[in-house]
């Protein structure tokens, strides 16, 4: 079997498996070989679960033989290493959890494994999902398969790079301020951030609990829709999950967008937008118009404020959530004669610079004398960001624009300037502040690097944004962007 098959839609692979033309063991072996060949140059995986994967593939082939397979059965996938996997090391990209092995199964991991999907491994990420380049991993940076001198985006950079390079058919990421959509954009794949509460966070290592959401990354919209259908839904273990019924997301992909109103916010096209990004996105919008959608100029005046708001709210929640890493119950411990020194040394050594920075910013924003001016003010502005979107969705069905203001930037370029790194999320984090859904779909290349078109929808508007993304993908004809891999030993 050739490796070329690894860039086919997994929905096709499922059909081939159902007809016994290929087996899950074949596809899993080919994927593992590809990981072995390419990943030394990409660094997408923190852990490859080869033995378990092959055992699951055998089980999947049995499921096909016994006619109890579904679209995900036997399909190789990857999980961002922030999602707990029972008995499989979960580091969250941090030295402080370097040897942590979860004693319970994360809800989404359980659902995917029960559906028969084959876990290839756990992917690299910015430590505790804090970052936009995967350079803040506590272990090593991930490189963009399109250009290894560039970042894959982040924080789910390992997941996006793995899918882009054919080292997994799909992956899960998490999106707190753009961490699924931005790396999807920079790696030329499709990434969806569902509505807050659509997917259970049980077993997700918490960063900013009012913003975090798990979602799928794949190479085409129908594949993303298929994965969402499996992971979405109410979970008694996560009381923030919504009770709304889970629709058949794939059935909603009709290719039809005639009469749909697409809002184009002027704030998402600032003068500083990279010209190649602006051109690709404008062309994408023009394609949607030619399919019969109406483009409507709108304004989201709180866009700039949302960024400031995010960098108060997220660090404040993170400061609280990360208090649990104290070297007592799990994770790294630096021995000391007294317990306070034990805490100080464990956290000094276990956390990287960006995590410390955000914990301290959070502590500042929540401390006496500053709480009202920073944290409470940020929550009030957050309400205005939500109103921005509510008002917009009175006028339009979806909102579209660039996912990221730039294509993939160079490794190291923004590492010493936290603020410039934060700006990478300017167009994605407002959706997290408002709890709405968004998807990034490839809309071409600029300077040989992928550009993402972001489509935002109201709460529980996944069906609509996926329909738009799918219609665009079909018309654009490059529904799978394959990076010109110029590295790795020959197959």
């Amino acid at each position: 079997m050739t490796e070329g098959i690894l860039h086919r839609s997994f929905l096709d692979l499922h059909e081939l498996m159902a007809r016994r033309e290929i087996s899950s063991v074949d596809v899993t072996r080919a994927t593992l070989e590809r990981v072995q060949r390419l990943d030394p140059d990409v660094g997408a995986y923190l852990l490859v679960t080869e033995e378990q994967a092959l055992a699951q593939a055998v089980e999947a082939d049995r499921a096909y033989a016994e006619d109890r397979a579904n679209a995900l059965t036997g399909i190789p996938f990857a999980l961002k290493d922030i999602i707990s996997t029972l008995g499989i090391r979960t580091t969250c990209g941090s030295r402080i959890l370097e040897n942590y092995v979860p004693v319970y199964q994360g809800q989404v991991a359980g659902r995917l494994l029960e559906s028969g999907a084959v876990l290839i491994g756990k992917t690299n990420m910015d430590e505790f999902a804090m970052g936009s380049s995967t350079e803040h991993s506590g272990f090593f940076p991930t490189r963009n398969p399109w250009d290894r001198d560039r970042v894959p985006g982040g924080s789910s950079g390992g997941s996006a790079a793995a899918v882009s390079a054919g080292m997994a058919a799909f992956a899960l990421g998490t999106d707190t301020g753009g961490s699924i959509r931005q790396p999807a954009s920079l790696c030329g794949v499709v990434g969806l951030k569902p509505t807050y509460g659509r997917v259970s966070r049980y077993g997700l290592v918490a960063f900013a609990s009012s913003l975090d959401q798990i979602g799928p990354i794949a190479r085409s919209v129908p594949e993303v829709a298929a994965v969402l259908g499996v992971i979405a839904g109410h979970d008694p273990h996560d009381s923030t999950t919504l009770r709304a019924e889970v629709p058949d997301y794939r059935a909603g992909l009709t290719g039809e967008v005639r009469g749909l109103r697409i809002g184009v916010p002027k704030e998402y096209f600032p003068d500083t937008l990279e010209s190649g990004v602006a051109a690709a996105v404008s062309q994408g919008l023009a394609s949607l118009e030619s399919l019969g959608a109406h483009l409507v100029d709108i304004s989201l005046p709180m866009t700039d404020a949302a960024l400031s708001c995010y960098y108060i709210v997220a660090p404040s929640e993170a400061m609280s959530n990360l208090a649990r890493y104290d070297g007592v119950r799990y994770g790294l411990r630096e021995q000391a004669a007294d317990v306070w020194t034990l805490f100080d040394r464990t956290r000094e050594r276990g956390f990287g610079a960006e995590v410390k920075r955000r914990i301290l910013v959070g502590a500042y924003a929540l401390s006496k004398g500053y709480y009202e001016a920073y944290y409470v003010k940020a929550l009030e502005v957050r309400a205005l960001v939500q109103r921005d979107f509510e008002a917009a969705f009175q006028q339009v069905d979806v909102i579209a624009g660039p996912t990221s203001p730039t294509t993939a930037f160079r490794l190291g370029e923004r590492l010493d300037d936290p603020l410039s790194m934060y700006l990478a999320d300017a167009f994605t984090l407002p959706a997290n502040m408002a709890g709405i859904c968004g998807v990034s779909v490839p809309c071409g290349l600029a300077g040989g690097l992928p550009v993402g078109l972001q489509i935002l929808g109201p709460k529980l508007g996944e069906q609509t944004i996926l329909r738009v993304a799918d219609a665009y993908e079909r018309s654009a004809g490059f529904n799978v962007l394959v990076p010109p891999l110029t590295f790795g030993a020959p197959a």
């Binding site: 317990v339 301290l360 409470v376 009030e380 205005l384």
Partner: protein
């Protein structure tokens, strides 16, 4: 606004992160830049907002019923140090 080394050290003490002096100074400059940027929030009129909002998701309370919890051995499996079913830490109180 200036974030002095003393302020950073106080924040680090509250969040139990040991910091070297040099690290405290660099972090102080970073935090200063971040706070200067987010201070734009102060200019925004939020008089129309009542109450502090969340992400807008309903979070109904569940029934308070007894359910199985994780076995003690599992819970202790990741502990850096344990004995007799307990986590072990250095003495918290002096003699």
């Amino acid at each position: 606004m200036s974030v002095s080394r003393e302020v950073v050290e106080r924040l680090a003490e509250m969040t139990r992160i040991g910091l070297a002096h040099a690290e405290a100074e660099a972090l102080g400059r970073d935090i200063e830049a971040i706070l200067a940027h987010v201070s734009a929030l102060q200019e925004i009129d939020t008089a129309a907002v009542e109450g502090a909002p969340g992400a807008g998701s309903d979070a109904p309370l569940r029934e308070d019923v007894v359910a199985a919890s994780l076995p003690v051995a599992d819970v202790l499996a990741n502990a850096p140090q344990q004995a007799d079913g307990f986590f072990v830490v250095p003495a918290v109180f002096g003699e």
